[in-house]
Amino acid sequence: MYTQSPLYNNLYNHSMLPKIKMNLQCPMPKFDFDVITMGHGSGGLLTHKFLQSGVFDILKNELLDQQHDGAIFELNGKTAFSTDSYVISPIFFPGGNIGDLAINGTVNDIAMCGAEAKYMSLGFIIEEGFTMNEFWEVLVSIKNAADKANVKIVTGDTKVVEKGKGDKIFINTSGIGSIHPKANIHHNNIQKGDVIIVSGNIANHGIAIMSLREGLQFETEIQSDTVNLNHTVLKLIEQFGNDIKFLRDPTRGGVASVLNEIAELTQLSFYLEQTFIPLNDAVEGACEMLGLDPLYVANEGLFLAVVKKEIATAFLAQLKADENGLNAAIIGEVNDTHPGKVVMKSRVGGKRIVNYLTGEQLPRIC
């Protein structure tokens, strides 16, 4: 989550940001209003018209079309279910916006359970005065991300809050899907000797957002990595089954926080090599300038996998052949030297404990 001072909103120049390419099949319908008003969340005629011509048309599917209070469907066997709220600011950023983030984030949470999200709910909390143009851009991104992830939005909710009581738009999504029959993802499966793999460059999302807020520019623009990982992950599960012990997407708190959580749960030691951790040059530079440790910076299209040593090479090869795993790397292994701790060999050869982050990473003074 990125909370921020209102100042950033003042400094934040929307016109500087790359616009999402509009899907030509989705021209914005004619709304009676340029901005969203309290009436759009009242539940009356305005809400009805807004949902009909806006939300339902673009997200249409046979379950949503029933326009019932909830969606009714069948699922087979073991099921994964997850929810997340998205309050990011700025809502538009290089590489995505709050819309595709809200879909990808929940799809990925389900994927980390070893399942493919099939159905999703979508809840909006919109601040009065949010422009229809921006809302439409977000909605189109939601549709595109859902289509790409092959997930259907089957139920939802829209509320409008008074100006000043929100920050443009907040989104909540929940997802549900069946667990792949070969999947057995649980931290209890992790053993000494297992290998830790990361699916790509770390810290891109967090630094893309921070750079935008701080007005930092680099030779190559840093893009958020937001993407749906379900197809990538399910293919790996299909191939390697329960030799994949554990999966997690290191969003808030970054790679270090996830590894600390599982180190604590398993009472094993997670040993990393700093030089193995893939990091984009511009992101590394931004981290140096902002005084941030990339291990704690958020990711949105990345996952960590703990796999059986025997399959690590083949797993990495398959992942690297996938569009979402081009920069994947083995970053360390599980051992029992420091139970419950994450240990990293620094680039100069020293070793240290990588601890939990306390609160937010705050920019340093000098």
Binding site: E288, G350, R352, C366
Partner: protein, 367 residues
């Protein structure tokens, strides 16, 4: 990454560690002044690589750590005044005042903004003429030029609703306070490279001479630090005490003339209370007479009771190098980054936080 990776080269690091080991015949205690150096030593695991004879103690060079509880209280008081926007570097927000921190004041409704540059605060004042914008100007000689520049900019543009709460501290008086302490254990200093980039190194010659103490101006990357340590140990082993400059790629003897001019234009040298250490004469900057309209202390009638430091925090002993964080009975128990008793556990450059976050794998540095 260019200009950084060269100074993080593992082979050079190993080479320097070998050289330090080869020449060290006695135990030596070195103090690195700057919190940035402390973090680099700990984060890169360098303390574990040094020979046991070399003890690194961590100096007072963390502006967040040395800002007194009364100054934090002043900032909180200002942030709670109607129509005031208080701007601060992020690090300061979690530091406990006598009753609360700025972060808690913010959560209770005070308008507090985290900025990277004081010039943003001037812009903020320009765009909010109906508000009083106060910048919490903390830091060593490194942040002083930019903070001074913000005042110059505001004055040039005739911006009247901007002021700074200056709590600047200076390195050389603090070094003298440490060396002059009866219990002083420091054999040599690694001076702070960034401070010297601004101020030059002339101030350090009389200190090296008076206290017979080697001073090596040192950078922040692993190779810099090890080279600085090597240079200091070489002097100690030979029994000499000179000022040397390891960080010559950034530091020139005379410093940065333009930055120094800006400092002297706006600030005057004043006494300053250091958290945990007490008052050090002539150890800080205050806004001078010419720019008094931009001095928040004169602009606002700050009416707060004098607050005692938290007695449970031994930050003074830690910053003077008399104790290590792990020797504090509250380290990691009553005092943690989420509930700090004192500032060194808060700041990203504080020695306690460095030990807490980047603890050595074998705890050798906290024995």
């Amino acid at each position: 990454m260019k200009f950084l990776s060269e100074y993080r080269d593992p082979e050079m690091v190993i080479q320097y560690v070998k050289e330090i080991k080869a020449i060290t015949t006695k135990p030596w205690t070195l103090m690195e002044i700057c919190g940035g150096q402390t973090h680099s030593l700990v984060k890169n695991g360098i303390l574990d690589m040094l020979p046991k004879f070399i003890t690194m103690v961590h100096g007072p060079g963390c502006p967040v750590c040395v800002t007194s509880v009364n100054v934090i209280d002043e900032a909180i008081y200002l942030s709670e005044q109607p129509n005031v926007i208080l701007c601060s570097f992020g690090d300061m927000l979690r530091v406990p005042g006598s009753k609360k921190s700025l972060l808690e004041a913010k959560a209770s409704g005070a308008d507090i903004r985290i900025l990277y540059s004081p010039l943003e605060a001037v812009e903020l004042a320009k765009s909010h003429p109906e508000k009083q914008v106060v910048f919490f100007a903390v830091g060593f000689e490194t942040t002083a030029p930019a903070n001074a520049l913000s005042v110059v900019h505001a004055a040039k543009q005739g911006i009247k609703n901007y002021s700074i709460l200056a709590s600047h501290v200076l390195v050389p008086p603090a070094m003298e306070a440490i060396l002059g302490d009866d219990e002083n254990k420091i054999d040599a200093f690694l001076a702070a490279g960034h401070v010297c980039t601004i101020m030059g190194i002339d101030e350090y010659y009389p200190i090296a001479e008076k206290y017979k103490c080697p001073i090596v101006v040192t950078g922040f990357e692993p190779v810099d630090l090890l080279q600085g340590i090597l240079m200091a140990v070489q002097q100690l082993e030979k029994g000499v005490y000179k000022v040397e400059n390891q960080y010559a790629r950034s530091v020139q003897r005379e410093g940065n003339a333009m930055a120094k001019d800006t400092i002297h234009k706006v600030f005057t040298i004043s006494d300053r209370v250091w958290r945990g250490i007490g008052n050090i004469p002539q150890s800080g900057y205050e806004v001078n007479e010419q720019y008094k309209l931009y001095n928040a202390r004169l602009k606002f009638n700050i009416n707060i009771p004098f607050a005692e430091e938290n007695k449970e925090c031994i930050s003074g002993d830690i910053m003077k190098g008399l104790k290590k964080p792990k020797q504090c009975p509250n380290f990691g128990t009553k005092c943690k980054p989420e509930h700090p008793l004192g500032a060194p556990m808060v700041s990203s450059e504080g020695a306690c936080a460095a030990y807490y976050h980047y603890a050595s794998v074998d705890d050798v540095l906290i024995d």
